[in-house]
């Protein structure tokens, strides 16, 4: 690990960067945290707003069981303490996108306590694992959205997001490089998507991170941190950390001090800028929401949450590796839940793991990349893939024939058997036919034959190539080799 240690080189020596992330993940649910209103992305403004979300007089929040369930399942997926007794608090502040004048959140007694995530910051070395602590996950309401571009002098409010359930996943300040933060965010996103508790669409805002950064001389106590708000991609998080850490080092080396403040990240410049400092920080006047009873979870509910958890990426990766798949490929195959699901279906259809992993990570991923399709849109189904691999294994198709068949399958959606039958791409192992072609090749190339016999054995490949070419690639290469050797030895 030491060779990977990330340090910022300052004028006064090396600096270490300390990073913590607060990730806001929108809970996948048909309804909002405390109301029955819908939560679809991209709906017309103010079409997904209940009386509760608009904070009409006399309206009351009622917790949505599904949102709680998803947060509990997420907590279980990061090995966290699930608090059987938790409570909602009000965070009070005024803003036009916050109809109640308070956000219902959980400060004092969060739903999920201490957990952790094991991440591999170095893709090339997936076994180099670092454990990142997660302090808590609490559940809270999202705010609405102000629209300043609808009218020359007025601002409009869209309350579609108002009241949507968020999980705030708060890490410990355990990360020490942009790469670690990137790996943490990527892994967290992957787990949320496996669990199905968040769609992880960072570009739609359903997952965003507040990035806490401080710097210190290695071994020194923590420095003062800044918080860069609402960064919405893994790359931007890494950029923001890098910029912010360098900025802090420059300030400190200039004899200045870091101000504890909230900052904003500008994706166009890759820089952060001050948004507000601690002096004008709000006093949120948190107190327990008197409209809601404490949340008490019974064993049956927890058991149901546990039982409904899917196999998670680490377990899947270990299973693949145990079946002989390389660590790198296993990592690639399990990074996205859709790919892992596809690969599992391929294995279930009978494909041998090693060959299947080779084929998916090279042929299938390559083809999908070329076609600009996601794996769940693949024109070739897992069972068709398994069939193709079976035809290779039983000698019906050579590697190169398999590639041709696969291309046609991608085009037509046909099964490999259909393609083979229709295009006559079946590999021939008929020694009689192969012998006849070899004899013809040898007869046509007396010069090369003479040189081969004269000791230029490298020409063996030439005869293989000519034979395969004459058979339009359909000959079984192993048999061609075997027969060619025999016939060259004979004559």
């Amino acid at each position: 690990m030491t060779e990977q240690t990330y340090r910022i080189q300052g004028a006064t020596g090396e600096w270490e960067v300390v990073i913590g992330l607060e990730v806001h993940a929108q809970v996948t649910s048909n309804a909002k945290l405390f109301s029955g209103a819908a939560t679809a992305f991209g709906a017309e403004p103010n079409t997904q707003v209940s009386l509760v979300d608009a904070a009409m007089p006399g309206m009351l929040p009622v917790p949505n069981r599904e949102c709680i369930r998803q947060a509990v399942r997420t907590g279980m997926a990061i090995d966290a303490q699930i608090n059987r007794w938790s409570r909602f608090d009000r965070k009070n502040y005024f803003y036009a996108d916050l109809p109640q004048g308070y956000q219902i959140s959980q400060l004092y007694h969060p739903l999920v306590g201490e957990g952790h995530l094991d991440v591999s910051p170095d893709e090339k070395n997936p076994d180099a694992v670092k454990r990142i602590g997660i302090e808590r996950i609490h559940v809270e309401q999202d705010a609405g959205k102000l629209m300043h571009d609808q009218h020359p002098t007025r601002s409009y409010v869209d309350l579609n997001r108002s009241g949507v359930a968020l999980m705030e996943i708060v890490s410990r300040p355990d990360m020490r490089s942009p790469a670690e933060a990137g790996a943490y965010l990527t892994k967290l996103r992957s787990i949320l998507r496996y669990v199905g508790s968040c769609d992880g669409n960072m570009d739609q805002g359903s997952m965003r991170a507040d990035v806490n950064v401080s710097v210190r001389k290695p071994g020194a106590p923590f420095g003062t941190r800044t918080e860069t708000k609402n960064v919405n991609s893994v790359r931007f998080v890494m950029q923001a950390i890098e910029h912010e850490a360098k900025r802090q080092v420059a300030v400190l080396e200039d004899g200045g001090a870091i101000v504890q403040e909230t900052r904003l990240f500008n994706p166009d410049t890759g820089q952060t800028r001050s948004m507000r400092s601690k002096e004008d920080a709000h006093d949120y006047r948190y107190f327990p929401d008197p409209d809601l009873l404490p949340l008490e979870l019974d064993e049956g509910f927890l058991e149901e949450c546990r039982a409904s958890l899917p196999e998670l990426p680490d377990a899947k990766r270990q299973r693949y590796e145990a079946a002989g798949v390389s660590a790198y490929q296993a990592g690639v195959l399990t990074a996205e839940v859709e790919a892992a699901r596809w690969f599992d279906a391929l294995l279930e259809a009978g494909a041998p793991p090693v060959q299947a992993a080779n084929w998916v990570t090279s042929e299938l991923f390559g083809a999908l990349n070329r076609l600009g399709k996601a794996i769940e849109e693949s024109p070739v189904s897992p069972s068709q893939g398994a069939e193709l691999l079976k035809l290779v294994a039983d000698g019906t198709l050579s590697g190169s024939l398999a590639k041709q068949v696969f291309e046609i399958m991608l085009d037509t959606g046909q099964s490999p058997a259909e393609v083979v039958a229709e295009h006559g791409l079946k590999q021939t192992s008929d020694t009689g036919a192969i012998d006849a072609v070899i004899a013809e090749v040898l007869a046509k190339n007396p010069g090369q034959l003479e040189q081969y016999r004269g000791g230029k054995e490298a020409l063996f490949g030439f005869f293989v190539g000519q034979t395969m070419k004459a058979m339009a690639g359909k000959a079984n290469p192993a048999i061609v080799n075997e027969r060619l050797k025999a016939m060259l030895a004979q004559s």
């Binding site: 009386l51 608009a54 904070a55 009409m56 007089p57 006399g58 309206m59 009351l60 929040p61 009622v62 917790p63 009000r90 009070n92 005024f94 803003y95 036009a96 109809p99 109640q100 004048g101 308070y102 409010v157 006093d283 006047r285 948190y286 107190f287 008197p290 409209d291 809601l292 009873l293």
Partner: protein, 494 residues
């Protein structure tokens, strides 16, 4: 012959069922009575058509031989804290002027479902904050009562449900809804010689009721006698999935269960409720109440509620804290009043809207609540007050190991004159001293009229019960009612 407006809920219900008179006649009589009582300023909105429509539905149903609904033919008054679809609802505050809900509160809907009709929306202390109705943005309600000793100053009807108390005692409606956060049903009932019950917290849904202090607010009926309260509460109460604090319990048949025979019951007398400076008339009435309940078969025991003196300070931390947050939604953005000074930004709009929209008492409580929740003060005030609240609840639990209900005065004085206490918030808050502890503990409690003081003004006795034991409270109330024979009513001067 008795006028229809002299009848209470049970009598109207039974008369309509028997065909002694039509529901329409009843509604018309009360509509006329409401229209003629503007001097009391009890109603903010009159809804005669609502009352008539419900009455006609009741008459049609009876003509068609349908089974009568529990409140068929009974018109009532609705405190303006309850949102009513299509009828302006303001909580007696400027900030909600012009607001007409598109939805119906659960409690009011329950009443309409039971066949009741609405005579109008009743005036109240603004956002239910007050004990005299003087904080209404639309002028204070005046009590129909006058002192008999020559003092003719207009009297407070109590608060915050002062429109309700005034209207019921002046026979403008046979019953009215109230809400009680720290005594807002019981104290006005006591001031006007009527009955009112605050049920166990969670019995009545809070959905659609404008919030003052969520952990304390409870709706309840105000009516002329105990039976009428039981009938009305049965219609108002019930589990509501839209209120997370609503109790998932069936509504008992309180009216059918009424019994003034208290044999085998124990009545506790909390010694801490004997406060300095309590008028002799109240002391005397309390003793009278003890004698009445003993006469009804109950055994009397003295009990102690040692943390009583901390109840009022704790209440005046918790209630404003919740209110400061609950009232944040009145910001001028979505509904109600908006003050947008020339060139104003968002913060200016908030400030102008709220400065102008809220009354002085509401602003005082928002400021107190904001203060007690702010960083550095939270533990000293809010956390401490919650501890006191737990101790007070424990006091009651321990007392109820020795008795079934508690008997105490409802308020430390009879109705005071309008203006008498409005300059001194502490004096006003002290009026809640006997009602606040049971509110903090979420217990059912009611006030029934016991008699008149030397000036001819009504005094109330309060019965406090165990959680969910509204029946025990109503039964003790009935025992007092039968023995007190309270028949006094205000002379119509309006």
């Amino acid at each position: 012959m008795t006028e229809l407006t002299d009848l209470g809920i049970a009598a109207i219900r039974d008369g309509v069922r028997a065909g002694d008179f039509s529901a329409r006649e009843v509604a018309e009589a009360f509509n006329a009575r409401v229209a003629g009582a503007k001097a009391l300023n009890a109603f903010l909105v009159e809804t005669p058509d609502h009352a008539l429509a419900a009455a006609d539905a009741a008459d049609r149903a009876r003509a068609a031989g349908e089974a009568p609904k529990p409140l068929a033919g009974v018109p009532i008054g609705m405190k303006d804290l309850f949102c009513t679809a299509g009828v302006p609802t303001t909580a007696a505050s400027h900030i909600l002027e012009g607001f007409t809900p598109t939805y119906e509160s659960t409690v009011s809907q329950n009443l309409w479902d039971a066949g009741a009709g609405m005579l109008g929306k009743l005036n109240m202390d603004q956002f239910a904050m007050g004990s005299s109705n003087e904080t209404s943005a639309f002028g204070n309600v005046i009590s129909p009562w006058r002192r008999s000793d020559g003092g003719n100053a207009p009297l407070a009807p109590g608060g915050s449900s002062g429109g309700s108390s005034s209207a019921v005692s002046a026979r403008l409606c046979p019953g009215a809804t109230g809400t009680d956060t720290g005594g807002s049903i019981r104290q006005p009932a006591a001031f006007t010689g009527i009955s009112g019950i605050k049920p166990t917290y969670g019995r009545c849904s809070r959905w659609g009721t404008i919030a003052f202090a969520s952990s304390l607010d409870q709706a309840g009926p105000m009516a002329r006698d105990v039976r009428d309260c039981a009938i009305m509460l049965e219609a108002m109460a019930g589990f509501d999935p839209k209120d997370a604090t609503s109790l998932q319990l069936d509504v008992p048949r309180w009216e059918a269960g009424l019994s003034s025979d208290l044999k085998g019951k124990r009545v506790g007398i909390p010694k801490e409720y004997r406060v300095d400076g309590m008028p002799a008339a109240i002391e005397t009435l309390w003793q009278q109440g003890v004698d009445w309940l003993r006469d009804a078969g109950a055994e009397i025991v003295e009990v102690s509620l040692p943390h009583t003196k901390y109840a009022l300070p704790a209440y005046y931390i918790i209630a404003p804290a919740e209110a400061s947050s609950n009232l944040a939604r009145y910001d001028g953005v979505r509904y109600g009043q908006r003050d947008l000074p020339e060139g104003a930004g968002l913060q200016d709009m908030y400030a102008a809207t709220r400065a102008d929209g809220f009354g002085a008492e509401v602003k005082r409580r928002i400021m107190i609540g904001t203060y007690v929740l702010s960083a550095g003060f939270y533990d000293a005030y809010y956390t401490q007050a919650q501890k006191v609240r737990a101790l007070i609840a424990r006091d009651f639990e321990q007392a109820f190991e020795r008795c079934d209900v508690l008997l105490a005065p409802t308020a430390p004085s009879a109705a005071f004159a309008l203006g008498e206490k409005s300059a001194d918030p502490i004096a006003m808050y002290l009026n809640d001293v006997f009602t606040v502890p049971s509110s903090l503990a979420g217990l059912p409690a009611m006030s029934v009229p016991g008699g008149l003081d030397a000036a001819g003004l009504p005094l109330g006795l309060q019965i406090i019960g165990r959680p969910l034991d509204e029946q025990g409270v109503l039964d003790a109330g009935l025992a007092i009612e039968e023995r007190a024979g309270f028949a006094a009513r205000p002379e119509a001067w309006w």
